[in-house]
């Protein structure tokens, strides 16, 4: 940990092979992200963790830290781009937070709060993908999916089940269930699966469990996402 670089002027120590995002979170510096999860290999799809390194944009979840590099993150320009990316995610799906069971515990929503998103700005796509309620314990609302692939990675790499996959091209890309019928009920998916716990939004939902936490006590009611992640990581270093 003798090597360092800077983020917005703050000195960040890092170990050889660490990405900018890993070193930043370990040092208690929040960089917004949705598809990155510390337990999985980076994916690089959400682009929320974009930072400016030597004048060029880079995904901090995939770019390795190099001694002496100068990183800009919490700037008007970069946060403006993150806001635009977040707004794109909101209009591409049906993010009706007022009736979503994950509201208050949703990483996409908390990130939008962090970035001060007052409106989705762009025209809405209003996608129409059927809900899959075939499983006895879970239902899937695909219209909230942000294609982070965390469930894909968790099911494949941790659970060894390969229940989920991304399919299609361009805006038609969508989450699918790997069963002949395409139904979750025809897989060996269980509540104990890692894939059942990693969705950062409201796609993979436990049946009969919604709205259990009172408003005011949900994860991001109490503290903004930046404070939670900064506090959580500082204790690890």
């Amino acid at each position: 940990m003798s090597q360092t670089f800077t983020i917005d002027g703050r000195i960040i120590p890092f170990a050889e092979g660490q990405t900018i995002l890993q070193a930043a979170t370990a040092a208690g510096v929040f960089i917004p992200h949705l598809c990155y999860h510390p337990e999985f290999k980076p994916h690089g799809s959400c682009k929320l963790c974009t930072v400016k390194v030597s004048g060029r944009h880079a995904a901090s979840c995939t770019m390795r830290a190099v001694a002496g590099m100068v990183v800009e993150s919490d700037t008007e320009e970069i946060n403006g781009e993150r806001l635009a990316l977040t707004q794109m995610l909101f209009v591409e799906g049906n993010h009706f937070c007022p009736s979503c069971e994950v509201s208050g515990n949703c990483q996409l929503q908390a990130t939008a709060y962090h970035l001060g998103m007052m409106s989705p700005h762009y025209d809405h796509f209003f996608p129409n993908r059927a809900v899959d309620a075939s499983h006895p314990d879970f239902l899937l609302d695909f219209n909230r999916c942000i294609l982070c692939s965390l469930c894909v990675r968790a099911s494949r790499d941790v659970d060894g089940k390969n229940v989920f996959a991304l399919s299609g091209r361009g805006i038609a890309t969508h989450l699918i269930v790997n069963a002949k019928s395409g139904q979750l009920g025809d897989t060996n998916f269980t509540p104990a699966d890692k894939a059942a716990q990693v969705c950062p939004v409201g796609v993979i939902l436990r049946k009969r469990k919604g709205f259990a936490v009172p408003i005011g006590e949900r994860t991001y009611d109490r503290k903004p996402i930046a404070e939670i992640i900064e506090a959580g990581r500082e204790s690890l270093t």
Binding site: N94, H95, P98, S99, S103, Y113, G116, M117, D123, F126
Partner: protein
């Protein structure tokens, strides 16, 4: 702040709304009396004024667009108000009423007015007096330019108070973490 000599004219309306944003506005409680030192209400569900005055300063819109009359009213507000504010989830992204967007309109009308059990000789209302529903529910920014957005379903009274007092004081409105929510 000292009260201005000329009061700010504020018009409000509910399009495809539930009036919940208006109720949340009234949740500013006795601060409403303070507010009335600075503003006067123009066309609003709270007044009896039928048309928006051409010199309105602020227009507050609750609800998305679900029928032809909503579009006329919205355009009228935009034409006559210097500043237009979208208030609540419906005006901002269509809100929960936009959950009808994946169903064909004819199917919905059929089911509600015609085939529902208990509707003897039911028919879809066809009087020209009634505004025709739009195929889909739309956020208002897809039809007119919107100057400010207050998110929430509904936004809290404090969020509404913050935006209005910021605007009246000539500040750029800003909600902190505690006032920012979409649900």
């Amino acid at each position: 702040m000292t009260p201005p000599r000329k009061k700010i004219k504020v018009a409000t309306t509910s399009l495809a709304g539930c009036f919940g944003c208006h109720m949340s506005f009234l949740d500013i409680d006795e601060r409403l009396f303070t507010l009335l030192d600075y503003i006067e209400f123009d066309r609003s569900p709270l007044t009896d004024i039928k048309e928006v005055s051409p010199d309105c300063d602020i227009g507050i819109i609750e609800g998305g667009l679900c029928n032809a009359e909503n579009v006329h009213v919205l355009r009228d507000f935009r034409k006559n108000c210097k500043v237009l504010i979208a208030i609540g989830a419906c005006a901002i992204n269509g809100g929960l009423p936009a959950q009808r967007n994946h169903l064909p309109l004819a199917t919905i009308l059929e089911e509600i007015y015609h085939t529902s059990p208990g509707l003897a000789n039911g028919m879809i209302p066809n009087d020209p007096e009634l505004p025709l529903p739009l195929n889909k529910v739309h956020p208002i920014h897809e039809v007119v330019q919107v100057d400010y957005f207050i998110p929430g379903c509904p936004p809290s009274a404090d969020a509404i108070w913050k935006v209005l007092t910021d605007l009246l004081a000539g500040r750029e409105p800003e909600l902190g973490h505690s006032l920012m929510h979409y649900d």
